[in-house]
Symmetry: C2
Subunit: 228 residues, 2 copies
């Protein structure tokens, strides 16, 4: 049954959901969202497209499953830090780094919000906020806001990366191009954006992201939550 063919993948193991998901992640990491195709996937796995459908419902199912592998791995590394606040920071930072390393995760997560990958994040954040002393009624809105912020950053990061890839640009030249566009905006209508153009290429996405988390945590603490 298991005939040994030396594929780049593994030895001639039989097809399985896990193997399909694993191959999908490799394709997504290499070629971005557009690269994941049932044809590309079946070629990598040395089968036909139909075979994949025996293990996977459809493309969305596949994407969510691939996303969940990354999220589960990330969350596992982030739980139970020194303080609940630090756990929230670790989750946020972990997800940021994961979505940076795998830009497709950002858009997949947005699409699969209520499903398992999103639930993992909700759970981690929720437990921490509860430990922080956020009152019952405020827990859901607070978790929801934090998750939405993280997803927003991830989605935009994914879009920027894809945009840059599609044009064969490096991240730095993409930022430089955007900066130039902004600096040429109408001075009366866009004073703020114009004044931000100069610092755009040098800015640190990760630091900005964490600054947002800190604003948020500071807001949580000052808006009613008593942390003992």
């Amino acid at each position: 049954m298991a005939n040994r063919t030396d594929s780049s993948q593994r030895r001639g193991e039989s097809l399985s959901r896990d193997r399909i998901i694993e191959a999908s992640i490799e394709i997504l990491d290499t070629g971005g969202e557009g690269g994941l195709t049932f044809r590309a996937l079946s070629e990598k796995l040395a089968t036909g497209p139909g075979a994949i459908y025996w293990h996977v419902a459809n493309k969305n199912d596949l994407l969510v499953a691939a996303c969940d592998v990354i999220v589960a791995r990330t969350m596992q590394a982030c739980m139970a830090k020194a303080s609940p606040e630090d756990t929230i920071r670790a989750i946020a930072l972990g997800m940021f780094d994961a979505m940076n390393a795998h830009p497709w995760v950002g858009s997949a997560l947005v699409q699969a919000s209520g499903q398992l990958p999103g639930v993992r994040i909700v759970e981690g954040l929720g437990q921490s906020l509860r430990a922080l002393g956020v009152p019952d009624a405020a827990q859901w809105p607070t978790v929801s806001a934090l998750l939405n912020y993280i997803l927003g950053v991830g989605g935009q990061n994914a879009a920027n990366t894809q945009f840059a890839i599609a044009r064969g640009l490096e991240r730095s030249s993409f930022l430089h191009a955007t900066s130039t566009t902004w600096s040429q905006l109408d001075a009366d209508a866009y004073p703020f954006t114009r004044s931000m153009a100069a610092q755009l290429p040098a800015h640190d996405d990760r630091a900005d992201f964490m600054a947002g988390i800190e604003i948020f945590l500071s807001g949580v603490k000052s808006s009613g939550a008593r942390s003992h």
Copy 2:
């Protein structure tokens, strides 16, 4: 409010970029993101697909342009409220309502972050935060965080709507189904999510969204910004 031109296909009028965008918005509102097709569009406009390409670079260009119409209209109605804080609230609420009425705007905005529609929002938020007294160095991270939060909500809202539409569900039965799934999660691994399941169907997205904005504003004020 404004229903100036209701006629979808005015005979005899020559094709133009504006007419194409107008028709695209109608299709997107009716059939969602999947409904916008060069074939559907050319049928509505009584031409061939090739004609559209004379006025529009590609599908992404079309989507961004349609998105920008909605965003520009929304921002125009939100500027210059009583206080900078109220302006921020108005922008957030306006964008929430716009993305709720046109779910495709959420995902389009995420894809077009650095482009014109995103810049309009950045400008509105930035001017307000500046007026609020947020120090220079903190302005960009703060605007960025606010925008990301809004985009995250919009993107997720779009995904949920599309998900529900694809399965022919109403919003309420979609929430009910998600609630049931959550309540059946493992009690040890997902205590928080399980305890949220019951209140999920009754929750108010708009109120939750605004609660997030308030947390954020409160964080901005308590984390260094002196608003005289």
